[in-house]
């Protein structure tokens, strides 16, 4: 087993708006100069949050009302571009446990899943409504029910979707696939031999 099952995620949420937010924006390349992921949290969305002198630009992530948020909301094609796992690592180390968006870029989605960060897809009208609920009460608890594909906030229930293989993996605690893959050592070696790679 790779960890514990993730059946639901709850906490406060913050909405970082915009389509096609790429992983260079999530974490600029200069912060990739590191040999571990440990220190990446503070660099999340750095250039969107701070100017060249390191002064805050008043980004929503730095709004005290959203301090401690554990669910990140965004729009279409979130996480496009570079495959850098530094992006979901920074999101996780900043304190987020799940991401809700219109859609996700594929490599980013895979990286999040492996790290145990559910990527949940919610339609635009619902995200707008959820955003309004959060704006009205930043302390409002948002619950992502992974098992039943619902998001609940202030007595409002939203239908959401997830990639089924990811949902299964969260429920079965196999989202980090390494142990599952290693269990097939014989099958791996047979495949390698059959293909002439051994």
């Amino acid at each position: 087993m790779s960890g514990t099952a993730i059946t639901k995620v709850d906490g406060t949420a913050v909405y970082v708006k915009g389509n096609d937010i790429d992983t260079d924006r999530i974490i600029p390349a200069r912060f990739l100069k590191c040999v571990t992921f440990d220190e990446l949290g503070p660099s999340l969305f750095y250039d969107e949050r701070f100017d060249a002198d390191g002064q805050s630009k008043g980004h929503v992530l730095d709004d005290p009302k959203h301090k401690g948020a554990s669910i990140l909301i965004s729009d279409a094609n979130f996480g496009c571009g570079s495959s850098r796992e530094h992006a979901p690592q920074a999101i996780q180390k900043f304190g987020f446990k799940a991401v809700i968006a219109e859609s996700f870029a594929e490599i980013f989605h895979g990286n999040c899943t492996t790290l145990g960060i559910p990527c949940v897809m919610m339609q635009k009208a619902d995200r707008t409504r959820l955003g309004e609920l959060i704006a009205a009460d930043p302390e409002a608890d948002v619950v992502i029910d992974v098992e039943n594909l619902k998001v609940i906030c202030a007595n409002t229930i939203f239908d959401v979707t997830m990639k089924e293989s990811a949902r299964e993996a969260f429920l079965a605690a196999t989202y980090d696939p390494l142990d599952t893959l290693l269990a097939q050592r014989r099958g791996i070696d047979e495949t390698a031999k059959r293909l002439g790679y051994a």
């Binding site: 100069k33 850098r84 796992e85 490599i107 293989s165 893959l181 791996i188 293909l195």
Partner: protein, 463 residues
């Protein structure tokens, strides 16, 4: 019903089905570099695991390497530490490392093909989204994250969901001055930056068939910018001719036997596709981006879009400091960059050298040419190309990713505008949080460098 190349390669490499519905897929070739891979070795150490198939992984250094002096230790301490961690880890695990100044170093997606490591019918992965480049040889080539690098090191397999296949046929003949880069920018413009999510792209049609391998690599390279995790082209005589005699392919009769096997991976004529798109080559013009995603592209003959209701257009125009409804031609540039895994191969520099001979880079432009690998550099020098570039006012640098992502000292300053042969025009991509990138083909970069502004290579070079 026949099968696509994607289905054939997938079926060959599947180890089994996993409980969550994914498949375990064997990776024929794994490429690693210093930015996304060293952490994976740390993960192995934590779990007391070894590398399962060290002979199927190859390492190089490209992202952080300086392009002025590559003597060790690097001036940047962290860059030095990153390359050292990679050197130590590959040494410890018996992985071949194409280190700087060995003659084999270069951008990972240039090195694999030029050595012949990349071969038709393979599954290939690398912790880099432009791994799709290798699809030009008829492979399933995927960008992966660091935890997946760990998975491949430990098991030589990945847990994967199968993709659908979209065939994109580019039919007809490309016009004069229209390059492979224009083809892929046009495709992304038409299908969108997320149009390919869930798909492998199969590029086909007469215009693709007519391309050289280096041109095909340019097309496949940017599949990810269209949202497709991989893109491929069926192997044919062009593929086999490129590979024949390369260092890491079978030699002599064994090569001809391999060719017969490789040929069999090509999609069957009656293969079924999940989607089929037709693009007319005649519709493709020299194409440049105007915005902050590779899909925000127009032909050199067009104007920037009007703001309309699309917030993204307004945001992009504001960031780029461009007016709506204004011709892109004539946009002043500060920097010209020719290089990257998209357009840093010998033929890219040859095409430019032919055209810039006797011309001069404009006085307002800083122009750099960065070969994609030590082999590209050597071949270019043997042809005297570096002298042509230098005479025209370009700096000829040492190989690396350089200003494509600016992890080394090659960066834009402030809100400089860069005419770039790379693959991403994202906000801040080229090392300055206000820097601006206009993507285009190498000959269009050369035209812009000479004119000091975005220009039509067909006019500047009288093509």
């Amino acid at each position: 019903m026949g099968k696509t190349l994607y289905q054939k390669v997938w079926d060959d490499h599947v180890v089994g089905r996993l409980d969550n519905g994914q498949y375990q897929v064997f990776m024929a070739l794994h490429l690693i570099h210093e930015v996304t891979s060293p952490q994976a070795f740390g993960m192995l150490r934590d779990k007391k695991l070894s590398v399962a198939y060290p002979k199927r992984t190859f390492a190089t250094v490209d992202h952080i390497i300086p392009t002025t002096s590559q003597a060790r230790p690097f001036e940047d301490d962290m860059a030095e530490q990153m390359i050292q961690v990679l050197a130590d880890a590959t040494g410890e695990h018996g992985i071949e490392f194409f280190a700087p100044e060995t003659g084999a170093q270069g951008i990972v997606h240039v090195v694999g093909p030029e050595l012949g490591l990349t071969q038709p019918g393979m599954t290939i992965c690398c912790g880099d989204s432009h791994t799709s480049t290798h699809g030009a040889f008829g492979t399933i080539a995927l960008g992966i994250g660091t935890s997946q690098v760990r998975d491949v090191l430990a098991s030589q397999t990945l847990a994967m969901d199968p993709l659908k296949v979209r065939r994109i046929r580019v039919e007809g003949k490309l016009g004069t001055g229209v390059t492979a880069k224009d083809v892929i920018l046009h495709i992304i413009r038409v299908l969108g930056v997320n149009g390919g999510v869930g798909y492998a792209y199969e590029y086909a049609g007469a215009a693709i068939d007519a391309m050289t391998m280096e041109e095909r690599m340019t097309v496949c390279n940017m599949s990810i910018e269209g949202g497709a995790r991989c893109g491929y082209i069926n192997p044919d005589e062009t593929t086999f001719d490129f590979l024949r005699g390369r260092e890491r392919v079978p030699q002599g009769d064994a090569f001809e036997i391999a060719v017969e096997k490789w040929r069999g991976y090509a999609s069957d004529p009656d293969a079924d596709y999940d989607d089929d798109v037709l693009i007319e080559a005649a519709d493709i013009k020299p194409t440049v981006t105007w915005g902050i995603t590779p899909g925000q592209a127009i032909s050199i003959e067009e104007a920037t879009p009007s703001r309309g209701d699309d917030e993204l257009i307004g945001d992009a125009l504001r960031y780029m400091q461009l007016e709506p409804n204004t011709p892109i031609k004539g946009t002043r540039i500060d920097v010209a960059f020719i290089g990257s895994c998209t357009n840093g191969r010998l033929s890219d520099f040859q095409a430019v050298a032919e055209k810039i001979k006797g011309k001069q880079v404009a006085s307002n432009v800083r122009a750099i040419a960065v070969p994609g690998s030590e082999k590209v550099d050597k071949a270019a020098r043997e042809l005297g190309l570096h002298e042509v570039f230098e005479a025209a006012g370009f700096e000829w640098r040492k190989p690396g990713c350089s200003m494509c992502l600016a992890m080394n000292p090659d960066k834009l300053v402030g809100d400089e505008v860069c005419a770039s042969s790379s693959n991403r025009n994202f906000i801040g991509r080229q090392g300055s949080s206000t820097g601006r990138t206009i993507l285009m083909s190498p000959i269009m970069v050369a035209a812009a460098a000479i004119e000091g502004q975005v220009a039509d290579a067909r006019e500047v070079f009288e093509l």
